[in-house]
């Protein structure tokens, strides 16, 4: 369903030292350094999988998501998702995906949630019957009944996140990208979001790619993880195999948490 092969992407970053003098100097002449955000990333994902995409801050997780959701054009490499190349067939391709950026809203800030939903229906051209049934299902399972007529700016973060997730599923996408969907949420909202993700995966067969720093999310949701550090792919495989591999490295008899294992892995690959 998703095949990514050999994706590389680098950014030019202007470098200058601190101080007023160099700030003035950089107005006229700038030195750039090439920073490889992604180098030679390849993986493939089957329909119906939930994949946890993890790595420390600045590892290139968001860049990968942006490339495979068609926002960024990579420097090299190919990517086929449901027969489309995301950055070439953008309009046709994005009809099939839903994207949640945990830190950015896709709802219109000053109007009730339902108005945003209605506009999204028009943007995605969702047939009325399909829209109504999706909306009904989403309001029920995400418990949106009471908040759907409230302006977005008055919602709490947890309420807003549930609306965000609903908003990205209104057009029944077959792939859902979740970029830190549980960031800043309280325990109750986190569990609710996780349960919902599992449910749409099982009932509707939606393929899910999830980036997060919360290892409990990964443990609760994903069978498979892809680890990325400093732009390179380091591990791709089963989460339990990973646990078995590192369990001996811990001296104490208690089983290490997945968090500890990941820290261990970061150390081994020297990517912290």
């Amino acid at each position: 369903m998703i095949t990514v092969s050999g994706i590389s992407k680098s950014f030019k970053v202007a470098k200058r030292s601190s101080g007023v003098r160099s700030a003035v100097k950089s107005l006229f002449r700038r030195e750039y350094t090439e920073v490889a955000a992604l180098s030679d990333i390849s993986f493939s994902i089957e329909p119906g999988e939930i994949v946890g995409y993890i790595g420390p801050n600045g590892a290139g997780k968001s860049t990968t998501i942006k490339v495979i959701s068609g926002i960024l054009v990579p420097d090299s490499g190919t990517c086929k998702i449901m027969g489309y190349t995301p950055w070439l067939d953008r309009v046709a391709y994005v009809k099939n995906i839903g994207v949640v950026f945990g830190q950015r809203s896709q709802l219109w800030w000053d109007v009730p949630v339902i108005d945003s939903f209605d506009l999204l229906r028009d943007i995605y051209d969702v047939p009325e019957a399909e829209y109504q049934s999706n909306l009904k299902l989403l309001t029920e399972t995400l418990d949106l009944e009471d908040i759907i007529r409230t302006p977005v700016r008055q919602l709490s973060l947890g309420q807003r996140m549930r609306c965000e997730i609903a908003a990205s599923l209104l057009h029944s996408p077959s792939i859902l990208f979740l970029d830190e969907p549980t960031i800043g949420l309280d325990a109750v909202s986190k569990i609710a979001v996780r349960q919902f993700i599992t449910r749409i995966n099982q009932e509707k067969g939606v393929t899910i790619i999830l980036t997060t720093h919360d290892m409990n999310d990964i443990e609760a949701l994903a069978q498979r993880i892809i680890l990325i550090g400093k732009g390179s792919l380091l591990y791709d495989g089963d989460i339990h195999a990973l646990r078995d591999r590192y369990v001996n490295a811990f001296p104490s008899e208690s089983t290490p948490s997945i968090e500890e294992i990941i820290v261990r892995m970061y150390e081994e690959y020297q990517i912290t």
Binding site: S62, W87, A92, V99, F101, R104, V111, L119, D122, I123
Partner: protein, 260 residues
Amino acid sequence: MRLFGKYLLILFKSQMQYRTSFWLLSFGQFFIPFSVFAGLYFMFERFGQIKGWDFYEVALTFGVIHMAFSISECFARGFDMFSSLVVNGEFDRLLVRPRSTILQVLGSKFEFTRVGRLLQSALVLAWAISQVQVEWTVMKALTLLFMIASGVFIFAGIFILMAAMCFWTIQGLEIANIFTDGGREMAQYPLNIYQKWVSRFFTYIIPFGCVNYLPLLFILGKSEGNPLIHMLTPLAGCAFLIPCLFIWKIGVRHYRSTGS
């Protein structure tokens, strides 16, 4: 088009959440060009005419260009404010939606408060039309509409062009104001009062002269040669939009997004 209407509706609802600020801003927008126009009036009061143009003829030019400017500012405000869309990463969101980026950026912002400015320029235009010494015909009325429409296209084109620069610099460029505000200030007078190179620049590079000066000659009966050519010059304004859209397309492919 229907979708654009929906975008407008939701933005209007948002705007209505802030009613006081809406009225104050509209009020302000009404009086900014008003003071400029008052300056124009007093100047003609003193000097009578400029290079053979009398007050009402210049007022007609003024009305046309300000009308075009306020309409384009209403609609193309999304492009004018595009740098903020890039800086805060909102443009990412637009790219994962299955619609053209142009439509979505247009729909991202609509400056309802420019209604004040629109009203003001409409008043000036109406006054100029009623006072200027012209035998109005259907053709001339059409030409006037043409002038406004293609003026809108030129301003929109400049907005798009400058927005496209954000793909390379991230930061918005004040340089756009030289062409939008500057162009507006220049083009509110008939172009032949300026130096040759100025009027050439605003005829061939940014074709304000084509929406304003040349067809105006036709309306006022000052044109020489084929009137049809003068009538159709506003089309050059529409043509200006094409390279702008093309540069926009290239820019989108250079988009680099921002953090997280």
